[in-house]
Subunit: 336 residues, 2 copies
DNA sequence: CTGAAAGCGCTAACAG
DNA sequence: CTGTTAGCGCTTTCAG
């Protein structure tokens, strides 16, 4: 166990603790001779500075919290990889928080920034409302958002245009000749759900198609939810030939139901998801989906938040919109 | 921002800091009246105790580090879920460390336990050798291992019998009528690789088959590595009809190569992996693989480590062997 | 270039 | 039941 403190090292090197601290942090010049002596003592005692003491004194923990809905979903994991990619070089650690798709959990985790366990918090596609988020930022807590636009000078955010992406998907489906297109939304209170639904409706409107409310079902953004929702849809006997799932997880549920019911994708049922989940290109047929530059989104946002943490730079550009791209794969391309 | 300290609260409630601390931690009785007053002050000032100060004082951070090789691999993500499942109720946070398949990284992360950023460290299928791990434990750092047996009284560990699992896989392949079975190992220095190879050889021996060294290739435990290794294997023209990949990621690489070369699975090439990665049951044909109770493994190990952290219980049972099960799916079941 | 000393915010004796 | 006080281990003025 490492029990030695800076005092022990100082004693052994016959210098003051201040000097030891100086060589530890290269904070100011120390004569080469004393420096060597201190270094030697440190090595001999196998001394490691106590991070808690350092944190307390410097009011920094050098760790960033990252709240995601579900660590098992590759979409989040890739964003985390991106965050990590910028955090590591800046010597920040990452505290991952798995909110298990629950808003209360998300809120609970915010105490980590309040009690100074982390220096800042990155929320990925949070369930918290903009208002709640803004409230936190105004209390002075450094937070950043991935996957949502939020109009506040203190909150860096990076997002894609959900309405546009969704609009593109539905247009594609219409072009493929589908008349009735179902929509699987996520939890009703998620902004993503709402925006994707908006794009869906816009497409219908543009194409002069009627909006049929029965064609909408909520699948809670997860596989079983998607499965159930799709079965409910089917039970209504509306005769739709395509489903747009607001994320890939729900699309996976659709695949499962189709397999059980021997509905062939895409000839009898076209399917499109969103997220470009890792699984989407392994399943058969490959799932058409909307890709976002996840890694980059995480990396860039982390950079901005770290900037803010260190220089209190709020003036800089803080809001980033990145493009998403529709990947048309086997699940939605009708055989001629 | 939360700038108020316990002193401010004390002042406002007209009590001493000790009393505030008492109500905060319910560490000893406080009269209902003062308690209410303190609580009121806390609420009014929107006070949150500073975790760093608390940590320093109590020499506890209530966080556990978890080192995994790659957070994107669902195998690790599920273990993390298990760890989380026991950590949360015990009020521990989890600091995820993504070692990016590199041993130096793993070692670097160990500084988190040395410098007291975390109270203990869980290593999942580490690249560090038993010796290195034991060294750390003997220096007094609380560590636990998931996915490997390690014979040391201070190191809780949970593992499956790799030799046996691998033995089972190869037996299955032999029963399916395969004569020449290739083996894709991971990095040469990983214990898992070694043990899985051992089981492979044992099966051949038991069945009176010759061991052909050319049938072994290293795929580094990842998809592209598996792809490359499989292509190298093919290039040797040995005429094997089955591959046992030491993990599912490499098996995915085999699938990719087979698709490119129009080799049909399983009729022309049987494939079996290990891990029961989430993707394995979505690909077509479904991948035969070896399942481990990942969630349970994480949960149980975390429990043991936390026990150790709190009570210094080293006497308790510390090493757990759990059963893995061979899941025979489409990729290795020869059509009659 | 080096040392002394004042805390960072909290907990836990100890005394009352 | 409540208050006083001594640190936890470190960084950082301020003097020298």
């Amino acid at each position: 166990m490492n029990d030695s403190t800076i005092i022990d090292v100082a004693r052994r090197a016959k210098v003051s603790v201040a000097t030891v601290s100086r060589v530890l942090n290269s904070s100011s010049a120390v004569s080469p001779k004393t420096k060597t002596r201190v270094l030697k003592a440190i090595k001999e005692m196998n001394y490691t500075p106590n991070a808690m003491a350092k944190n307390l004194r410097s009011s920094k923990t050098m760790t960033l919290g990252v709240v995601v809905s579900d660590i098992l979903v590759s979409y989040y994991a890739e964003i985390i990889k991106g965050i990590e990619n910028t955090a590591i070089p800046f010597h920040y650690n990452i505290l991952i928080c798995d909110a298990q798709n629950r808003k209360e959990k998300e809120l609970e985790y915010m105490s980590l920034v309040k009690n100074r366990t982390v220096d800042g918090m990155i929320l990925v596609a949070p369930l918290l409302t903009n208002q709640e988020l803004i409230h936190l930022a105004e209390e002075g807590y450094p937070i950043g958002i991935v996957g949502r636009f939020i109009d506040h000078p203190n909150i860096p955010c990076i997002y894609t245009d959900n309405v546009k992406a969704s609009h593109e998907v539905v247009n594609h489906l219409i072009e493929e000749g589908h008349e009735k297109i179902a929509f699987l939304s996520g939890y009703a209170d998620a902004v993503d759900s709402y925006e994707r639904l908006e794009g869906y409706m816009k497409s219908l409107r543009d194409a002069g198609r009627p909006f049929i409310p029965e064609l909408i079902e909520n699948g809670n953004f997860n596989e079983t939810g998607g499965y159930d929702a799709f079965r409910r849809l089917l039970a209504k006997n509306i005769g739709f030939t395509a489903v747009f799932a607001a994320n890939d997880e729900m699309a996976l549920g659709v695949y499962k139901a189709c397999e059980e019911l021997s509905i062939e994708i895409p000839s009898q049922m076209a399917v499109v998801g969103v997220d470009n989940n890792r699984i989407s290109k392994y399943i058969s047929p490959k799932l058409s989906t909307v890709d976002q530059p996840k890694f980059t989104m995480g990396a860039l946002l982390a950079e901005k938040l770290i900037d803010q943490l260190n220089d209190n730079v709020y003036t800089d550009k803080m809001r980033f919109k990145v493009d998403s791209t529709l990947l048309i794969r086997g699940s939605s391309h009708r055989k001629k």
